[in-house]
Symmetry: D2
Subunit: 100 residues, 4 copies
């Protein structure tokens, strides 16, 4: 079983520059010990289903402390089979692109 979840979470009430809060969210993700990949529109983690959902919940909780309004988008891709898909998905698409 492999569950990939892309987490994007930020405060809505702190103005247009949100990187200090995104850094706090990334620290929560790092503390989870799960493999992750930081991207321009969200951070993807890989783990067991309940595990990644708890990490997403802790990200929300970390902003709830001092933000009055918080927005999160989460995309989840659950697949039976081996883990290690974070790099594998990208490699698979690139291989098919070269094969055309």
């Amino acid at each position: 079983m492999s569950v990939l979840a892309e987490i994007a979470v930020f405060p809505m009430d702190k103005g247009g520059s949100v990187s200090p809060w995104v850094a706090r969210v990334l620290a929560v993700i790092q503390e989870s010990g799960l493999p992750y990949q930081l991207g321009p529109m969200g951070t993807t983690v890989e783990g067991e289903r309940a595990e990644v959902m708890q990490v997403a919940d802790r990200c929300l909780a970390a902003l709830e402390e001092d933000c009055d309004r918080v927005y999160m988008t989460l995309k989840v891709d659950l697949r039976k089979g081996p883990s290690g898909r974070m790099a594998g998905k990208v490699a698979s698409v690139q291989a098919k692109l070269r094969a055309d």
Copy 2:
């Protein structure tokens, strides 16, 4: 504290007609006892933060039983203050629309 979460979850390996699985997900949401609203692109629930995240996790778990690949998108809007925002947000937008 009010947390609204819009849950959209379906199998990717069962063909293009997914309403039986969406019905199963809705049953999970109903069992939670949280207020919810079914829409054309997802179901919105309202509750405490940890509560709504656990409902989203149970929705995934319900499809994991007999689906090999499952996709979920979750949008969360957390706001300090009273609950009962599911109807309130829509009413607030409509009132501002009329006022223009």
Copy 3:
């Protein structure tokens, strides 16, 4: 062909109360003449593919005028066959729920 698109768009630099901007976005959607449904986490429109994507673009443009940072999430469900799915999808799920 039926394309459903759920549009959620708001400024990130105007504080936590965004309903005046959401009302402006809804006015843009109404001007399109497409059928729509306002929900607690986004507004769903139905139309041809290019049409709904242009409406989403105009929603962004409407906030770009006086907002420095704007966030949008868009979920699209494209399906070959007849239109009129906005109500149909919900009815189909409810019918399967009752049948169990």
Copy 4:
């Protein structure tokens, strides 16, 4: 003006292995000439507002040819100011993480 858009699009009626279609979508993105970054849960492009929305529309069109049902999620982050944010956003978060 810089508009980042993360595009994730796949068929719902072709089974659980969708990388051939994701490769086709990536080819469409490459043909646009816009800078892009392929990630495990979507591909992010950067450009002008109308430009990135048209690329998203062409991605949908490329799957519409031979798929009966297609799902897309799009996240857009529009910000006034210079472009080149695809790498900049990640660097800004990492700098704040180190500074704590």
